[in-house]
């Protein structure tokens, strides 16, 4: 295993990711190729889908007109502890930046992605595409309560 990884590294920096993937995917070359193709089509992260509510515990959520600043502050606190390791404000990091997320996704979809990422990746085609776009890095289930996830969503509304 180890010597295999070293071999891959010694070829070129750009190649080793592919090698790793093929290892995980049991050498299914097409998967890697597909990703490259998709990139030229449309990135999942740029896709706008304001009807898809995703699959998960939240089926309906109405956001009030005005932002609840108290809730947003709570949400920031949760976000800094639980999400910041992978999602930075204003820049793509391990995962996408949350800025403007509600211009591309429904509130329900965002809530479901936070509350049940495993289920979303399995059952929501868009979430699955996003996983592939972000190098197969799985979104961790941080076991947020629905209330905490809702607060994080409110915090997202304050981000431009």
């Amino acid at each position: 295993m180890i010597s295999f990884a070293f071999l891959a590294l010694s070829c070129s920096g750009g190649e080793d990711k592919k090698e790793e993937k093929s290892k995980v995917k049991l050498k299914s070359e097409p998967t890697t190729k597909k990703v490259e193709k998709k990139e030229t089509e449309q990135l999942a992260s740029l896709t706008v889908d304001l009807t898809n509510k995703g699959v998960g515990p939240v089926s309906s959520l109405d956001l009030p007109e005005t932002i609840d600043q108290g809730m947003a502050a709570q949400g920031k606190d949760v976000y800094d502890r639980m999400c910041l390791a992978c999602h930075r404000i204003g820049k793509k990091f391990i995962g996408p930046a949350p800025n403007g997320i509600l211009e591309r996704r429904t509130p329900e979809w965002v809530m479901n992605m936070i509350l049940d990422p495993e289920g979303m990746v399995k059952n929501d085609p868009l979430a699955k595409k996003l996983l592939i776009e972000f190098n197969g890095s799985p979104m961790a289930n941080q076991n947020l309560t629905e209330e905490e996830a809702r607060a994080v969503l409110e915090y997202f509304r304050t981000l431009n």
Binding site: A5, E20, K21, K23, V24, D80, R81, M82, L84, A85, C86, F93, I94, N135, G136, S137, P138, A140, N141, Q142, N143, L144
Partner: protein, 652 residues
């Protein structure tokens, strides 16, 4: 060796001959019958019916098994360093192994006992003893981790331990190797009359489980071998077997086996408790360590205690008696009603049973046959309830089912014998493979045994499994005891050398088994609760790295400004909050181990880089598809370098 086996084989064969009479009409094929296979088969995805905690003996650790499958789920590190998780290597867990002899990273773990309420297993903690450097440990049964270790002063060979009273009021520790108390430099040959065997009682806090040494009875210098608490009517008493009442100090095989009868010591701890409450006992200077792990700080602390309250057994009226018991008794087992105290004379063919009612009567009517160092010896005939004439050889230990039956292991004749309490008649017997020591029925030493299975834990494995060179793991056998006759169901290997074990229904523990540690409850001094707080701080040549980890990266993953000669503390917090997503941490050249860090937990590894260079670290537990990418670098510069400390993740 061959001759020994031949000898053993002859013994087994002769025992089997006797057995033959009793065995007519049994199912015969044992594990070969298909029903046996069905009984131990736990289909993929399904779970076992019972937990079993098997002591690891000289592994120093405790193993967790499922019954009836015999599958091992976990090895819980207790007295031994465990590089798999970093236990005993991490800064947080090192204090747990601190003793008055310094850091002792190993012990010989013998007798697990699950905490009880009203004489029934309550599944809160399991207590285990360290025999070699005397200690008792408490394992929390929501985390399945060692929560506390307390040393036993004035003790050597903490063998009659770590059994609990029926409301977990106390956990006991008895001395197997009598020693001078306090220790002093003296000729060994002057042992007789000058050594003591301390029986130590630790009070258990009913809420936290924390142990505190309440008192220590300084008994005559016999070898205190095994113990069990009274229950029901005999609640308030504790029973300890003794051997070597000859007080020999050399050639023990011969010299410790001269007396026809040794004793079971009956100790009325309630009387002593009362005596202590009234100011009784003598404080003696000593030194022992009390080590406690705090689940919220994820850190253990070690405290030195310098005094112990000792009790002279002759000073407490009516508290201690000796029950004569033939032939160097080993096991000391009390039936579920608390009436019968079973002493297994290991050099005898019979099992001796004392009656608690008769014992109380003999005490009341002063039916004493002698005294030993001022402690009354009760008349054997007056207290004896009966004996089991089994025809086996070398009885060791007894467990009970809920139907009034007892099951005794016979080491020399390699068998488990089932007999009836009260009539002492032998009901069944089954061979073990080979030379069985302890046995365990879930709840089999409580007021409420669960019956169904008995696990026999053997000392010799020989041909039971594919050979693995000279060293073999010990074998265990599982028997179905739900019918009149026992049925051998399966064999499974154990880890280390299991002595005693404790078992309980799965539903007692599984629902409360912790899945994660909550980050918001993490009060570790060096926890990094937000990646915004990651940093590297220098304090002289000590460098503290506040690091976070989540699938699949470390924050920070590039560190510069470390110098040769630094002592680097990696304080790493796992930010996952999902079940079963630990991350590991390993760094090249570390002179300790890896760390395996559970979700929400913080652990610390020290690293003392010796050479300049750029050195990698990585996650050891395959955590995601990008696990192989979970890695980072530390730049180490020469000692006189001026490179400033810096740290980063994802910055070019």
């Amino acid at each position: 060796m061959k001759n020994l086996f031949k000898g053993l084989a002859t013994l087994v064969a002769s025992a089997t001959l006797i057995v033959g009479c009793n065995n007519t009409g049994s199912q015969g094929n044992g594990a070969l019958s298909s029903s046996a296979a069905e009984k131990v088969y736990v289909a993929p995805g399904e779970q076992d019916e019972f937990y079993a905690f098997l002591s690891g003996g000289y592994s120093g650790n405790l193993t967790v098994y499922g019954l009836p499958s015999g599958r091992m789920f976990k090895e819980i590190p207790v007295f031994s360093q465990f590089p798999t998780s970093g236990y005993g290597y991490s800064e947080e867990t090192k204090p747990l192994l601190n003793t008055s002899f310094g850091f002792v990273p190993w012990d010989d773990l013998h007798h697990p006992d699950i905490s009880q309420t009203n004489g029934e297993l309550d599944g809160r903690w399991v207590f285990v003893n360290g025999n070699n450097t005397p200690r008792i440990a408490r394992i929390d049964l929501s985390t399945f981790e060692t929560a506390e270790i307390i040393e036993v002063p004035n003790c050597a060979g903490n063998h009659s331990s770590s059994y609990v009273t029926e409301n977990t009021e106390y956990v006991v520790a008895g001395t197997r190797f009598a020693v001078p108390v306090p220790q002093r430099d003296m000729p060994i040959k002057d042992k007789k009359g000058n050594f003591k065997g301390a029986l130590t009682f630790y009070k258990v806090n009913p809420d936290s489980g924390r142990m505190n040494l309440a008192f220590q009875v300084l008994m005559p210098g016999f070898d205190y071998d095994k113990a069990h608490p009274g229950r029901g009517d005999s609640h308030g008493w504790f029973f300890f077997t003794t051997y070597n009442t000859e007080e020999a100090s050399t050639l023990m095989e011969v010299n410790a086996s001269q007396n026809d009868k040794d004793f079971i010591a009956a100790v009325n701890w309630q009387k002593i408790e009362e005596y202590v409450a009234n100011g009784g006992g003598t404080k003696m200077p000593t030194q022992y360590m009390h080590n406690v792990y705090d689940e919220e700080t994820h850190t253990a602390t070690s405290t030195t205690i310098n005094e112990v309250l000792t009790i002279d057994p002759t000073e407490v009226a009516g508290a201690i008696y000796f029950l004569p018991t033939p032939k160097s008794p080993h096991g000391c087992d009390v039936d579920p009603t608390g009436e019968y105290i079973v002493g297994s004379g290991k050099l005898s063919a019979d099992v001796t049973v004392h009656s608690f009612t008769k014992m109380m009567d003999a005490i009341e009517n002063e039916k004493f046959s002698a005294d030993a160092y001022g402690i009354p010896v009760l008349d054997f005939e007056a207290i004896n309830a009966g004996s089991v004439k089994s025809g086996g050889l070398g009885p060791l230990h007894t467990e009970f089912d809920a139907e009034g039956n007892a099951y005794t292991t016979f080491f020399i004749s390699s068998e488990v014998v089932k007999w009836k309490l009260g009539t002492w008649e032998v009901i069944d017997r089954k061979p073990t493979y080979y030379s069985v020591g302890h046995l365990m029925i879930p709840g089999g030493n409580s007021r409420k045994p669960f019956g169904k299975y008995v696990v026999a834990m053997n000392k010799i494995t020989k041909d039971r499994y594919l050979p693995t060179g000279p060293e073999l793991e010990h074998s265990a056998q599982l028997y179905d005891i739900s019918g009149d006759k026992m049925e051998l169901l399966s064999d499974f290997p154990t880890h280390g050398e299991p002595h005693y074990a404790a078992g309980c229904p799965a539903e007692l523990l599984a629902p409360k088994s912790k899945k994660i540690y909550k980050l918001e409850e993490n009060k570790h001094e060096y926890a990094t609760l937000s990646v915004a707080d990651t940093k590297v701080v220098r304090n002289g040549n000590e460098v503290h790295v506040y690091m976070a980890m989540i699938r699949s990266h470390f924050t920070p993953d590039n560190i510069e400004g470390i110098k040769v000669g630094d002592k680097v503390y990696f304080h790493i917090t796992n930010h996952e909050q999902d079940f079963d997503v630990p991350h590991g941490f390993a760094i090249i050249g570390a002179n300790n181990s890896e760390l395996l860090i559970m979700p929400g937990q913080t652990k610390t590894l020290t690293w003392e880089p010796k050479k300049p260079g750029v050195w990698p670290f990585y996650c050891t537990d395959f955590c995601s598809a990008l696990h192989q990418e979970m890695q980072g670098y530390v730049r180490v510069s020469p000692r006189d370098s001026n490179i400033e400390l810096s740290w980063s993740l994802g910055e070019d």
